[in-house]
Symmetry: C2
Subunit: 539 residues, 2 copies
Amino acid sequence: MQTMPGTTGAHALVRTLVDSDVRVCFANPGTSEMHFVAALDTLPQMRGVLCLFEGVATGAADGYGRMTGHPAATLLHLGPGLANGLANLHNARRANTPVVNVVGDHALGHKALDSLLESNIDALAGTVSGWVRRSASIEDLGTDAAEAVAATLTSGAAGEGGRDPSRNGTSGSVSTLIVPADLSWSTGGRSARPVKIPAPAAPSEQHVRSIAKLLRSGESCVLLLDGPALSEQGLRAASRIERATGARLLARNWAARQRRGAGVPHVEPLAYRGEQITAQLRDAHHLILCGARTPVTSFAYPDRSSLPTPPDTRVHVLAEDEGADTVLALDMLADHVAPHTEPLLAPSAPPPLPRGALTVDNWAAVIGALLPEEAIVCDESITAGMATLHAATAGSPPHDVLGLTGLSIGQGLPSATGAAIACPDRPVICLQADGSAMYTLSALWSHAREHLDITTVILNNSSYAILRAELERVGATAEASAQLFDLSRPDLDFVSLAHGMGVPAERAGTAEDLARQFRRALSEPGPHLIEAVLLPHGG
Amino acid sequence: MQTMPGTTGAHALVRTLVDSDVRVCFANPGTSEMHFVAALDTLPQMRGVLCLFEGVATGAADGYGRMTGHPAATLLHLGPGLANGLANLHNARRANTPVVNVVGDHALGHKALDSLLESNIDALAGTVSGWVRRSASIEDLGTDAAEAVAATLTSGAAGEGGRDPSRNGTSGSVSTLIVPADLSWSTGGRSARPVKIPAPAAPSEQHVRSIAKLLRSGESCVLLLDGPALSEQGLRAASRIERATGARLLARNWAARQRRGAGVPHVEPLAYRGEQITAQLRDAHHLILCGARTPVTSFAYPDRSSLPTPPDTRVHVLAEDEGADTVLALDMLADHVAPHTEPLLAPSAPPPLPRGALTVDNWAAVIGALLPEEAIVCDESITAGMATLHAATAGSPPHDVLGLTGLSIGQGLPSATGAAIACPDRPVICLQADGSAMYTLSALWSHAREHLDITTVILNNSSYAILRAELERVGATAEASAQLFDLSRPDLDFVSLAHGMGVPAERAGTAEDLARQFRRALSEPGPHLIEAVLLPHGG
């Protein structure tokens, strides 16, 4: 612990974050966070990135954390600032992404006065955070910050202050530190050293043997992969198991981060609809969860079950202890059942470029045909991509896909921001549905300000298409009110919207347009946006 | 109570809302709200207005409630949908606006499964609502809805199901009704009759006499007006008191709704800064709160008090009982101390049109010079308007001003949406700071879709100007990090942004531009946007 009698609490806080290797702060500050902002000047190791809306800041921190395995900070202003960031923190929570929120609050003596911006920050923070603390004294601020960082990683596998980019950043959690303004502005802060992160629990050898026995039993097994199991290391182990035992592999759909493409084992996604999942698991005697949860449908529907696993399928958990290392368990399992088997790697086989009018069916093939090496794909294509994107990119160069983990829309553009800052040498492709784009559109401005190499493709079908499908599915019908899912009248013009935030943009109406514009965007530095105007199925 | 065995819970819910005179629903629905949407088809008395972000829906409901005194409904999707709407519900709470939120939740049997969108809706709702209920059975749904509406009005003055547009809609509260999807889709719902709203408590005659005695004592008195006291009726009574007794009047700044302009008594605003408030109250022996709270600064600052009322000033409350009728109390007080005095009404005296470059100092005079009769002014101009707007519009035709009550930015464009739907025959002028506009910009799309007569003036000073001032004020300094308040690099182009959402737009660089464009916008139906590019003080 370092005592700094002449420095502010905010300085000790930022110093501690920097020492704990938190190097980026996605910020939308207000009056109560001014000393934090001032501290950034003297600590250039922390990069401040201005976001024009808190939902952009939190979504960016999520994207950053997924790519680095280590938290970024957010800087949010009081309860309303946190409220604006909650939806993407919900996605981060569902992604197990490490994120440290720093939320400024009123000075202690001011809180009881119920001034205009007063609200219940603690209640809001509790809904998304694995760890919440309100700093009680300036002496504690450094320690609190160090513990906040550690808490984001304790269910993960990172070492002290270190980051391991070969792992997925998908075994952490959200911490929220609430900092009264008077602690920030007072002097006498003490920074604190990083808290040592315990190594994840070693998988139980005995338990791994029992799973191995299942796999050798001759009964049909399915391995459902999620979290770190979808890293390259996890997928390679799973593929060895698949080849040696005949077990089938499935990957959680819209996972936090999945390694895909040529040279990576290919895994079919778990379907979105319950009855499709039931069909996928129909013959399975055993469902083995590898970092995954038992399948649950996203919504309940009249007269349908929310639990699609067939009743005769027995469910097992590969790494039973909380925080156990799923990837290590997969490696151990593979060494048991497939000691001499190599994984089956997807061949390089990008799809041919489609031609003609752009439709819901063919746009993904353009992306798959032209996807660059080591791309980071932020996928919020929703209905536009559900049926086609996975297959279209299976043979593209190796890449990572970040999915809409919590189904809270408005994640794509912000997470692309964070991913691009985390990985400045990798191209980021943001596949963004139109309706969802409008939630956090100002992320485009941050793309431009930070000159991030992000190519955004807006999939414009002029509707909340998923809701049209859902309306029917829940057994409701609506005619006049179907206008509540209609995004035309007026049409959104994403080219103008992008220009308004300093991002070069073009509109594509044919597959040829999209291919030409996508190639150009990839060849130039900085952000680009392409509005892909999609006709319905069949063109 | 009306039993409708063949109809859904959602239908009974909407039917009850309609019967309780809730006639507009600002909606951003999802799967769990589909039956509500379907019910809208059979109940055309409820107008569904699609908003592309929940913060627009809640801000619109706030603007609507301020203008009608009666709640609109919002329709929000699960916890993340409510979370996205919280910041403007915070403003509604601080405005005492009646609003009924309908938040869909998962079906009861689905909740325990912790599916991807599951979150703690109740905790979120509690932070902004005066009334929260989770419907427990389909039989209760109608009754719950009727009670939700009544709860928004119980501190107000409206009669059963009725609205009284001569009053300000500023004595209500926010209700949140959480509706599990299975209650919505099941049949056997019963609508419920409106709950009778009790009349507000009559002011105590004895207490009013004691205040009258103060006013006649020869000691210096200040009446601080807020809420319904800022209605025309309240202001007229206050003006009579001022003229007859020499008491001074002050109006809360950024009030929920204030009547202003020619023919209305003019009242100086309470200042924003604590030391300015202390100076305003320096000679006051008595501060009489008329629907207002004791002044509290918005933020604490090192070595400054948050309570700017001078220690020797005694504070009194005009209408002591909660829910007592402040306007009636002012009338009674005026009849005591000023039985034969007429109010002093502001003369018609719009400012002359300024000329030359547009600056922070002169833009408001253009608005004041051209403001149309019975305009509704949604004021989120913040620093751009703080010093000049009030004076510039004091002699304009009579109008209402809706202020940023909770200081949670991003309210202006949404509240204009709601005000225009509430009052289709009145021109709505939205004065919107640039940084704040980006929070809820998609409100412009709703302006266009609903063809609302809203003229938005974006005050573009390319910065979070208030934060530059605050940085200095809290005793912090920052150089490199001052970029965190800088909205240039790239410049936001609001003309392109407006075009992208179907709103005609122009840019004004001179006072002459602004005058010409403002006149044209007012003369044409439907929405318009003018980007006023402001030079700093002094041009």
